[in-house]
Amino acid sequence: MSARLEAEHLYKVFGRKPDQAVERLRQGTEREELRADGTTAAVIDASFTVEPGEIFVVMGLSGSGKSTLLRMLNGLLEPTDGHVRFGGQDLTELGARGLRDVRSKKISMVFQHFALFPHRSVRDNAAYGLEVQGVPRAERERRADEALALCGLAGWEKSWPDELSGGMQQRVGLARALATDADLLLMDESFSALDPLIRRDMQDQLLELQKTLKKTIVFITHDLNEAMRLGDRIAVMRDGRIVQIGTAQDILLRPANDYVASFTQDVDRSRVLTAGAVMETEVRGDEADCGCETATPETSFTELCAISARVPHPVAVLRDGRLVGVVPRQRLVGFLGDEPADPGTCDSPRDKGGEKVMARA
């Protein structure tokens, strides 16, 4: 059973006298001022909770502190201040030995550049975590083979990492993380090094696996599309601080500030938005009374457009057979263009009874 992960006021400062730096940050000193003194505040006051079975994505540009944050979650980096709790256990209180124990059994990690051991076969790589735990050879090989099969690598057990393509290598990385049966999966830009098509495949596979495995996953990425695709919730980081936490639609529709907003500009909204986010909730009550096609709040934007094209009037959105909103075609176009305002009036003569407009030479 997965457990809840809580991060509470995490700070990480590199450089001399980190404790003093944390104190100054609390009192409102800016990151730039500290940098002038030679100390780097990588993570500042990060707090969040990841529910069991949730995919929590941390999104930010490089240098925003997301990788540092991730490494504090499993104790590879010791927080300068703050606490990490997993399943009720405060990881920041543990000694080196206790931390190693937690890392070997409860938390596993998938790396950006796969980090496969080149001197071990695929099977031995996948079994690595179990070997560290001291699981007997026969059992760990069985479980490693299972994990490999789960990741679609059955039959490759005896190969060597250098014989596999990038995507397959990362599947081995994923299998290695899954084999230990850890509750928490930390994924550090795990798909960034793959080319786009393979990245799509891996994302799909991860979502597919998650349906059955229900792990708690913290996923780091710098790609907002990926974040929106994978994340149940997304934390956006900038300069060491978390600037917004919310669902993909929250981020898209209600960005906390201009920075987040500028981020969302390039996002393919049609993939993120659903009927529920787009619909008008002021309804007369009879919009669904015809026999036309209707949508549900979960209907994706693309599909909604398709329905709207087939229906001569605004599309009715029903939840459990009850009307909850309507989507006029106008609104669809507005969301796609990121234009929330209603259409204005036009003084063009083409609206005045279809008169021909003569060019005045």
């Binding site: 590879l76 190693r100 124990d101 890392r103 990690m109 950006q112 080149p118 001197h119 071990r120 975590g129």
Partner: protein, 871 residues
């Protein structure tokens, strides 16, 4: 710019290390020697070709068929050049050095990889070790470890350590950070991260480091040959010394063969042991397919092959060995298996005399080892006692510098060949140049140059400072410093082209056989009389082995004998010198018995030595010294001594009653006269062995103008008005205060400071170290006179009273019972220096170590024991 005395500091540091933690060096030496002997024994045991086979199988396994075949050919070639033993010596040396280097460098490298601070500390040390010229640390290594394998190993080690450390550090630091992080993320302990991830992945780089260690070690082999490690380095050295291009090439190529073999094997081993390497090799094989010359047996096959060959080798060693060591006939077995090490500089007469004695001594039952050195290390080693005898020391001129430095630690057993000369020499095609005087005005012809040898050589010093000046040539000619081989090469070159050349040379020298040369006459005698070729021994050999010492002292060869022996040796070439000596000895019958007469046995046990002697002694410095001295000497002659410490009165009583046999410390006729008078009917006086004893005031001899008590007058300021005394109330102090000072009118001026004997000595030591004036109350004999330079203040008025002598006294029947011993004791005498030296030795070693002190002192004063028990 002030002179920073770095050299002095280093000298002091080396001296301190040598005296204070010699146990540590002894330990290392034992480890090095043990490992080396072990490996060497293994490598030397099998037949050369069998071992070559084993090497070939290893190469077959590691690299394939072709490598195996080439290996066998290479090693067989070494064997055919008769360099096999040397090669194996070098190989053992190298293996030991490599093993030790790895044991040290891999952990240090790991440590440096994990800590930047360690890394930044280690780096300059490595630079230092790698760039410091080898000879600079070879000599201290000699001081610490003696000659032979340990010093060679240390030199190799110092040189070869650096790449091991560097490559290990580099390899570990190069391992992908993400991999290390991955290991940690799965909860791997730091130790396992190191063992399972970092080291396996760093292994190719580490193995490259091992490879470098071996290669650098091998390049040190030639230099290590200079300190008596032997092996191929020794041959190279010898070749250089004799300008033997052929031998040089052979040994050089043998080194190259070893180097290539070891290089290829270690790099292949790197592929074999590292998982990555195996992976790469497997891929290459898959790509390339199987070929006969790259076929490699499986490890099992290779192991079986090696084991079979090793078993055959072992079997042959067991059944075939030990046939050639003939046993020595009983009566002539003087050596009784004692080990003797002969050292020599590879000059012809040195090789000849050394191998002559090797043969002679082996016939007399000694186990003899002959080691070849450069002159400097040779003397160091002899002074250290690492070698026992050197038969080619050119004294007093050529080796003067070494003698000056080490002479005190050596014994000169006399010269065995006197007809040597130093000279300037020209080829005989140089007409009209017959004597040194003829060189005058012909500088143009010779390019103004005299081709010399090593700048530090005695001959060069003599030439520059005396000879040239004597003939007024010093303005005209420049003496070119170089080296003996370079000089000979130059001579050979000029000779071949019939060019004018003048070189420094000496006789006997083979150059006179090979070239037609003319020694320039020295009518003014500026070169001085020629050197004698002397035999030197380490201190104490005379005590340890008087017979051997006597043989060496009596050793003499005439020119005909020496040249015929040299000719015989030159005929057979290197490696068979001893065979040549045997042949030569056959042609000179009777010489063996003449040079090494096997006497009927020395130091026989006298009949009277049956029952134990009871010797009483007082706890006074001189009595402790003399009693333990006699104990040591007499026990070697078969006597047994029981020592009993007693007070003065009981000693006389005991002697009179016959309970005690001897006492060596009777102060007569004054101090103990009352005791003597009481029992003199039952006592025998065996005479005095020390005189005079005296009481006195002493000052350090750097206090000028104070030679007698009277000189103290008016100098109270100088001595701060004080005379440092001993325990108040002792006879001497009373005498000083009541008689001596008033007698010289000093009692107003000086105050006698009451104290204690140790306090007085401490004060003396302190003042002496600072060269401050000090006057102390002292008496003779006392060790202070041998430790410091002191002036006893004369007592012309005899206020200190008459002098005692120290007598040996015994029970009255003693002379009848022990006639031999009585004679020895009656003749016994020690000088003040001897007694003082012995006392200070005993003092240095501390109580409970008296016997060691005496033994050590006897070693330093080899004549004494024989003198005490002379027939």
């Amino acid at each position: 710019m002030p002179r920073i005395p770095l050299g002095d500091w280093v000298n002091d540091a080396v001296e301190w290390l040598r005296t204070h933690i010699s146990w540590l060096f002894d330990f290392f030496k034992a480890v090095f020697t043990g490992t080396y002997d072990g490996i060497d024994a293994v490598l030397q045991a099998p037949q050369p070709l069998l071992l070559a086979g084993i090497f070939a199988v290893l190469a077959f396994w590691l690299r394939g068929t072709l490598a195996g075949v080439l290996t066998f050919v290479g090693f067989a070639f070494i064997d055919s050049m008769e360099l096999w033993e040397d090669a194996m010596v070098t190989l053992s040396l190298l293996l030991v050095a490599t093993i030790i280097a790895l044991v040290i460098s891999v952990p240090v490298g790991i440590w440096a990889a994990r800590s930047d601070r360690v890394s930044s500390l280690v780096r300059p040390v490595l630079d230092f070790m790698q760039t410091l010229p080898a000879m600079v640390y070879l000599i201290p290594a000699l001081l610490f470890f003696g000659t032979g394998a340990p010093a060679g190993i240390v030199a190799t080690l110092v040189f070869a350590l650096a790449p091991g450390v560097r490559m290990t550090e580099l390899g570990i630091r190069q391992v992908d950070k993400e991999l290390v992080e991955a290991a940690e993320a799965f909860g791997t302990t730091p130790r396992n991260t190191l063992l399972r991830v970092q080291l396996p992945l760093a292994l190719p780089t580490v193995m490259a480091g091992v490879n470098q260690v071996i290669m650098l070690g091998l390049s040190m082999a030639a230099i290590a040959g200079m300190v008596g490690t032997g092996g191929l380095g020794g041959s190279v050295n010898q070749a250089i010394g004799q300008l033997d291009v052929g031998l040089g090439a052979e040994s050089g190529i043998a080194i190259v063969i070893l180097a290539i073999y070891l290089d290829r094997m270690t790099s292949a081993l790197g592929t074999q042991v590292s998982p990555l390497g195996r992976r790469a090799a497997a891929r290459a094989r898959a790509a390339g397919g199987l070929k006969i010359w790259s076929y490699r047996p499986r490890p099992q096959v290779a192991v079986v092959g090696v084991v079979i060959l090793a078993l055959v080798a072992g079997g042959m060693g067991v059944f075939g060995g030990s046939g050639d060591s003939a046993s020595v006939a009983g009566g002539k077995n003087v050596g009784e298996g004692k080990k003797v090490t002969l050292g020599y500089v590879p000059w012809d007469e040195g090789v000849a005399s050394t191998f002559l004695w090797k043969e002679l001594l082996e016939e007399r039952g000694y186990e003899v080892e002959a080691k070849q050195f450069d002159a400097g290390p040779l003397y160091t080693a002899l002074a250290q006692g690492d070698i026992d005898i050197v038969t080619n020391s050119w004294l007093p001129t050529t080796h003067a510098q070494y003698w000056k430095k080490y002479g005190a630690k050596l014994d000169d057993l006399g010269s065995w060949y006197d007809e040597t000369t130093l000279e300037l020499t020209v080829p005989s095609y140089m007409k009209d140049v017959d004597s040194l005087a003829d060189l005058k005005g012909r500088a143009d012809e010779f390019g103004g140059k005299i081709t010399g040898i090593e700048a530090g050589a005695g001959e060069m010093a003599l030439l520059k400072s005396k000879v040239l000046k004597a003939y007024g040539l010093d303005k005209e000619y420049q003496v070119v410093d170089s080296s003996t081989p370079a000089m000979l090469t130059e001579l050979k070159r000029a000779y071949g082209r019939k060019k004018p050349i003048v070189v420094t040379l000496w006789s006997p020298h083979w150059a006179y056989n090979d070239f037609d040369l003319k020694k320039l006459k020295d009518p003014k005698g500026a070169w001085g009389s020629g050197d004698g070729v002397h035999t030197l021994s380490r201190k104490g050999l005379a005590d340890d082995d008087p017979t051997l010492t006597r043989w060496m002292k009596d050793f003499e060869l005439d020119e005909k004998q020496l040249t015929s022996l040299e000719a015989e040796i030159n005929k057979v070439g290197k490696g068979k010198q001893q065979d040549a000596v045997r042949t030569w000895l056959k042609k000179n019958p009777g010489l063996v018995d003449k040079l090494a007469p096997a006497a009927s046995g020395s130091g026989a046990k006298p009949a009277e030595a049956g029952q134990p002697l009871d010797v009483a002694w007082f706890p006074w410095d001189e009595d402790v010294a003399v009693t333990y001295l006699w104990k040591n000497v007499l026990e070697k002659r078969g006597y047994r001594l029981n020592l009993k410490q007693m007070d003065v009165g009981p000693v006389y009583t005991g002697l009179a009653s016959g309970d005690i046999d001897l006492n060596f410390d009777a102060w007569l006729p004054h101090a103990q006269s009352n005791y003597w008078e009481k029992s003199k009917e039952n006592l025998a006086d065996l005479g005095s062995w020390y005189e005079p004893t005296s009481l006195e005031v002493a000052v350090p001899s750097y206090v000028k103008d104070v030679r007698s008590m009277a000189d103290l007058k008016g100098k109270a300021d100088l001595f701060d008005g004080k005379i440092i005394g001993i325990e108040p109330g002792t006879g001497e102090m009373n005498l000083l205060k009541n008689k001596v000072l008033p007698g010289y009118g000093l009692d107003e001026e000086y105050e006698v400071v009451d104290g204690s004997t140790p306090a007085m000595l401490t004060e003396l030591k302190r003042a002496y170290a600072k060269k401050e004036p000090v006057a102390v109350v002292l008496w003779s004999p006392h060790w202070a006179y041998s430790d410091y330079e002191l002036t006893k203040l004369a007592d012309p008025e005899k206020y200190w009273g008459e002098n005692n002598k120290i007598h040996t006294i015994a029970h009255k029947d003693f002379p009848d019972e022990y006639p031999q011993l009585t004679e020895w004791i009656r003749n016994f005498h020690l000088s003040e220096d001897e007694l003082g030296g012995l006392e200070s030795e005993i003092k240095d070693r501390g109580q409970g170590h008296e016997e060691e002190a005496v033994a050590a002192w006897l070693k330093e004063n080899p004549g004494v024991a024989d003198r005490m028990t002379a027939a």
